[in-house]
């Protein structure tokens, strides 16, 4: 070493002196960023070495980890696969929860806006038979559910209650062959009867050949069946075939297209108008605005179901106004003057406004007594009176049944 230094002493001293002056220079000089050159040079000299050292260290550790120490890779893979599977399940669960929340929100919105009184229920089971299109819901007679009540979703009708147990109810779906409901076309207002076929499509029967229906037209409940309130969406026409004596029309039900998990049971139905616009992009029903006072008066007026009923009710009202009792009075007694105008509906004698015809629950085939006076708070602004669907006690014994409170008799297509 000493020989080496002696041999290169001059160069060594030169380098030392140059280095010392460079350090001196670097201490004084600053670069553009106002950093002393000594700091820049030091960092520039040290960082590559540090980077190289880090590269060597990382490479060595990475090599050891990736190629040498692989004894726990399989266990790690198994653990990660398990974690991935668990996360997939969690993801599916959360998606379902989100879907359920959306559905529940739509259901709650529909329930809040529809004028009918409804009861939310969850589908808890399906029918045992392969051909039976029935489901069970978790609301029964204890919750006020009765046989014949309509079951709907915001998208449309689903079916009707065919059996009400204390804690559950059995619902006949719209696709069951035994199901039938009165429907009305949105465009042409032609009436028909929807029947289940045991397939995803339902058939609309009794549509005359001259009625012009097209694929894409919507059908709504007509309210004629006394199960479903008027104005609920039923489905969209998918097939129209000419036939004799009636057209062959198939409808895709809209209420069950998104699956059945949450439904609404119509406890007390209120008729609504048929929407003018198609239901595309309108999954949630929006109730019409409140009616005016005049419309309320008109809506509260009972009307006869048929022309004979109307005439009978008119004469009875005139007779009651003159305290005339039908079937009484002897010969020569002056009869009541039936040429007078009938009194206004609000001045009718008690009991005369509650008359109606008995009807049948089409799904069950059992006669159901007519309702009492219509609801004093009709929700529909339509000119024609739309009393609530009868869901109350039958009339007193001996009292004549109330007339059908619909404008069915005024239409040529009525059933």
């Amino acid at each position: 070493m000493e020989t080496f230094l002696n041999r290169y002493r001059n160069v060594t001293v030169l380098l030392l002196v140059i280095f010392a002056q460079l350090v001196l220079l670097a201490v004084q000089v600053k670069n553009d960023q106002d950093v002393r050159m000594i700091r820049v040079w030091t960092v520039s000299a040290v960082t590559p070495a540090a980077r190289l050292a880090e590269w060597l260290r990382g490479g060595s550790i990475g090599f050891l980890r990736d190629y040498v120490l692989l004894h726990d890779t399989h266990a790690e893979n198994v653990r990660l696969q398990t974690e991935v599977n668990r996360l997939k399940l969690d993801n599916d669960f959360l998606k379902n929860e989100l879907n359920t929340a959306d559905r529940a929100k739509a259901l709650a919105l529909f329930q809040a806006r529809t004028p009918s009184k409804t009861l939310a229920a969850d589908v808890i089971g399906t029918g045992a038979g392969t051909n039976s299109r029935v489901v069970f819901v978790d609301r029964g007679s204890a919750a006020g559910v009765e046989r014949g009540m309509a079951v709907v979703t915001p998208d449309g009708i689903v079916g009707k209650v065919i059996e009400a147990y204390p804690t559950a109810s059995e619902v006949l779906l719209i696709t069951d062959p035994d199901f039938a409901a009165g429907v009305i076309s949105q465009k042409t207002m032609v009436r028909g009867t929807l029947k289940g076929q045991g397939t995803p499509m339902c058939k609309v029967d009794y549509i005359p050949p001259e009625e012009k229906l097209q694929v894409g037209d919507w059908f709504y409940t007509s309210g004629d069946d006394r199960v479903f309130p008027r104005g609920l969406p039923v489905g969209i026409v998918k097939v129209v075939r000419p036939g004799q004596p009636f057209q062959e029309i198939y409808v895709e039900p809209s209420g069950i297209q998104r699956g059945l998990e949450d439904v609404l049971i119509v406890i007390e139905g209120v008729h609504q108008v048929i929407p003018r616009e198609p239901l595309a992009n309108q999954p949630v029903y929006i109730a019409p605005g409140p009616p005016s006072d005049d419309e309320q008066t008109v809506a509260a007026t009972p009307t006869a179901g048929t022309a004979a009923d109307k005439l009978r009710a008119q004469y009875k009202a005139i007779g009651d106004a003159q305290n005339h009792k039908f079937g009484e009075g002897g010969v020569g007694e002056k009869p009541a003057n039936f040429n007078l105008k009938p009194p206004p509906p609000g001045t009718a004698a008690p009991g005369t406004a509650n008359q109606g015809l008995g009807t049948r629950d089409q799904g069950l085939g059992k006669p159901v007594p007519a309702t009492q006076a219509p609801s004093p708070k009709p929700q529909s602004p339509v000119p024609s009176p739309q009393p609530p669907v009868p869901r109350t006690k039958p009339p007193a014994p001996g009292q004549p049944p109330a007339p059908v409170t619909d404008d069915v008799a005024q239409r040529p297509h009525s059933e």
Binding site: R9, N10, V13, L14, V17, I18, Q21, L22, L24, L25, Q28, V29, N31, D32, M37
Partner: protein, 178 residues
């Protein structure tokens, strides 16, 4: 040794060259006087501003001492003194003069530095080297965008070499003969 009768400028061996010695005060005052000349004379005589007296002194002492360490030390000290009296950071002239002193001493070992033409050439060469290396360092270390006009530098180098001949001749009188 008297080489006036010989036209050789390359020494056959290192022993052939004679190491000139100077008194301490000469080694102290001559560089100091050169620095003072560089500082004050151009204030009054601007046309003398081209002279690089400290560089010529370093070259002379390095050549005469024929010791690389001695030469680089003289160059370093003179250069640092120059830096101290200039606006440059300490070390710019120091590094350049250190290298000049080292290489000049290295040349003095191999060549007959008493030769007039060799002195002229060495003074010219080291002046250009000094200016060029300073320009490189100023650009590299300080980031200064200085101009290096080679034609001007060559002319000034020649003038400094001529002045250096006279300076060296004057300084030869101050050395001690062994």
């Amino acid at each position: 040794m008297n080489y006036s009768d010989s036209e050789r400028i390359l020494l056959s061996s290192q022993r052939e060259g004679q190491v000139s010695k100077f008194r301490f005060w000469v080694m102290l005052l001559v560089p100091l006087a050169a620095i003072l000349f560089q500082v004050y004379v151009p204030l009054f005589f601007q046309f003398l501003g081209f002279l690089e007296m400290p560089l010529l002194v370093v070259v002379y002492f390095a050549l005469m001492r024929r010791s690389q360490i001695h030469g680089l030390m003289v160059g370093a000290l003179v250069g640092l003194a120059q830096d101290s009296l200039s606006k440059n950071p300490l070390g710019m002239y120091g590094i350049v003069n250190t290298l000049v002193g080292y290489f000049a001493a290295s040349v003095g070992v191999r060549f007959d530095v008493d030769n007039l033409f060799l002195r002229l050439f060495l003074a010219f060469f080291f002046f250009v080297f000094h200016q060029f290396f300073y320009w490189v360092m100023a650009r590299a270390l300080l980031g200064q965008q200085l101009m290096f006009e080679i034609q001007r530098e060559l002319i000034i180098g020649l003038l400094n070499a001529v002045v250096g001949i006279f300076l060296f001749h004057f300084l030869d009188r101050l050395r001690e003969s062994v």
